[in-house]
Amino acid sequence: MTAATMPTRRSRGRSGRGITRGQAAAGWLFTAPVLVILGLFLLVPVLMALWVSVSDWTGRGSPISGDVHFIGAQNYGQVLWAGGLAEQDFGVALRNNLWYVLLVVPTQTIVALFLATMVNRRLLRLRGAFRTAYYFPSVTSSVAITVLWLFLFSTSGAINAVIGWFGVKGPNWFNDPDGIFHFGAQSGPRFLTGHTILGVSWWDWIGGPSVAMFAFVLLAVFTTSGTFMLLFLAALQNLSGDVEEAAMVDGANGRQRFFRVTLPQLKPTLFTVITLGLIGCWQVFDQIYTGTRGAPSKTTLTPAYLSYQAAFEGNQWGQGAAIAFILFAIIIIFTLIQRWVLAERAVSKRRMRWITDYQRTAARSGTGAAR
């Protein structure tokens, strides 16, 4: 509908207005069921959780009854700055999950992109079979995969047996709480152990994920790469061959075509994949719940699981809700950062100068822009 048609519609007679009004009402009528469902099962629970996070609700009866009081940011304080066990637990959970995100998101994106380009090749035989195989872990229940992982990575499991062929004694995967970037060191230098953030020492922050958490990192890459491969594949198949051919005519080699031609065109998909990856990684729960429940030594504790534990096991409903909202904020912040990093920008003057210089020298030496 263009702006020009609007006045004519308005200038119609009485009956016309009636029809429009009827349409609006019908529109509301048809959207009402969804609005009610969304409101009841999405908006109301979120608002209630927000209220619980600033209340002293103890988990008995309705949180909106008269016995429940507003206590301000106390629950958030317990988790963020009170200096107690709750803060330390949150710090540990945040440390674990941060490393998880840092390792999983880039790896799964790269692996997914790699797989997608591989199965997108026209010359590849059994393309369908490969696509199915890579996608299979994604459609399997995460509980089943976690159980499989517990067996594979047990002390005497298949993974350690394979490692054993090379004469190396495999780690005690899901029971090993040592940070992988500590490289076996048990205590750090004083300036690292002496300072803490959120009750966790700098030494522990830089220690990386524990061996146990690293097994979960591998699991996440294994299960999610297939899904994201599918997204990349769809995007790759949408790319027109002309651009690629033009690059070929210009003399670009395979590597250059991929990084300079294909990848920039995949940017929207890349954004989707990284956003979904970030959100999924920060919300990791089911693997932890079925697998280790935070053990060994809390190194697989994540904010999502901690929130559940605080509320349902510890009866600290306010704290549990507060952790959930902090997690929400973290996800938003990370997504915004990512959006900013991947944003379309005009080529900076410095870079533009570099490009023109390069073209000029290339033209002078007569080798062409793309060597």
């Binding site: 008995r60 066990l85 637990d89 935070g294 030594s297 409903w317």
Partner: protein, 408 residues
């Protein structure tokens, strides 16, 4: 237009009904006379044997009392309890652990019926203490378990040891553990957590909290002595944690003969029978520490919800379930120990080889029960799992700090 208006009314009506249905969760329904209202029993079962036994006992009571009662085995007891309390429709009768008691008692979720029990004095005093909150016995102890030393008798004789060598002191325990340690087998394999290592703390005369859970006693010299003793043996390789030999718990390591001894409770008999019937074992009292005999005890009680629609029926059911006959039936079915002293004689006659577990009732210490103590214990566990390389003093002082924070 007419249709639209009717539709709008319809939507409003649907919304109203849906919302009303939601709201009804917070009201109490009318109807039947209170004393005959049906009961639900929520249990955290260890397996089919326990579920069947409890179902049987509850069905027998239903027949006698004429009150319908259904037993539900929870897949996650804590979560299901929490959901019940928050919706205002909790199970009437349920298993309640010592560390969950304080939380639910303080917010008024549970009904303190302890004083209505005629046989209150028959329960072991230490169990009664575990379930006393605010000076009132909140719920009837269901049963209890203690830790003792389990010895693989074949490994024992193979190492040239006899019955006279059953360790009675820490030094002796170290000595026999050393002798029992061979290529694939460690002398003593235990779970790396408070619920096992804590036994040594009680033998040294310490514990994380005092008996009433009103004072934090984690950083005592006794606890330090205990942790140092365990640490020394872990370093020497005579003791190992179950996780470090690739086992889920001490019983599994013992059954797979990765450890010649373990420290476990009376529940070990079931798993040995089912999973490792070929491993012969004997239960002996844990060695005495610097402060004499000591061990930990674990227990649950039969909680009754304050929001139950039939409290008198629920109390009546609990009276039946804690009676001597029912408790002995439970013992036979799934190996727990009766919470009442009057059943001790018959229990020992029935299970003579498990007698050390029951005899520990006189000196066993309970686990911390202050509100929030479960989190502190799990933090202690996280640290004690790394005891080989950690500093015991640091572990205890951080635990002391966390426990003191609970009591503020």
């Amino acid at each position: 237009m007419k249709i639209t208006r009717a539709g709008a009314v319809l939507v409003a009506a649907v919304a109203a009904v849906t919302l009303a249905a939601c709201g009804s969760g917070f009201n109490s329904g009318g109807g039947k006379q209170e004393s005959k209202k049906p009961l639900t029993v929520l249990i955290g079962s260890s397996g089919a044997a326990e579920t069947t036994a409890v179902k049987q006992a509850v069905a027998d009571w239903s027949k006698k009392s004429g009150i319908k009662a259904t037993v539900q085995a929870a897949s996650d007891l804590n979560q299901q309890l929490a959901q019940g309390f928050s919706s205002g429709k909790p199970a009437d009768v349920f298993y309640l652990s010592t560390d969950a008691l304080a939380g639910y008692a303080s917010n008024g979720s549970i009904y303190a019926y302890g004083d209505k029990l005629a046989n209150k004095d028959d329960f072991y005093p230490s169990l009664v203490k575990s379930f006393t909150y605010d000076g009132k016995l909140q719920c009837a102890p269901k049963d209890f378990s203690t830790l003792q030393l389990i010895i693989n008798t074949d490994a024992w004789s193979k190492a040239g040891l006899t019955e006279a060598d059953y360790p009675t002191t820490w030094d002796q325990l170290t000595a026999v553990a050393k002798k029992l340690t061979t290529g694939t087998q460690t002398g003593l394999v235990i779970g790396g957590e408070y619920a096992r290592v804590g036994a040594f703390m009680t033998e040294a005369g310490g514990n994380l909290m005092n008996a009433d859970s009103t004072k934090a006693t984690a950083d005592s010299a006794a606890n330090l002595k205990a942790l140092q003793y365990v640490q020394d043996n872990l370093k020497a390789g005579d003791f190992k944690y179950a996780a470090d030999v690739g086992a889920g718990w001490g019983g599994e390591a013992f059954g797979k003969q990765l450890g010649a001894m373990t420290i476990e409770g009376n529940w070990i008999t079931g798993s040995q029978q089912n999973d490792y019937p070929d491993v012969k074992y004997k239960v002996v009292p844990l060695p005495k520490g610097p402060a004499g005999a000591g061990t930990l005890q674990f227990t649950n009680c039969w909680g009754i919800a304050a929001d139950s629609k039939n409290k008198s029926g629920a109390v009546d059911l609990v009276k039946a379930l804690t009676s001597k006959s029912d408790q002995l039936a439970f013992s036979k079915a799934f190996g727990v120990m009766p919470s009442i002293q009057s059943a001790a004689g018959e229990w020992k006659k029935e299970f003579p080889n498990l007698a050390p577990f029951l005899e520990a009732a006189s000196y066993a210490k309970g686990v911390p029960a202050a509100k929030g103590s479960a989190d502190v214990v799990s933090d202690f566990n996280a640290q004690v799992a790394k005891l080989t390389t950690a500093d015991p003093k640091t572990i205890l002082s951080s635990t002391q700090k966390n426990l003191e924070a609970l009591l503020k």
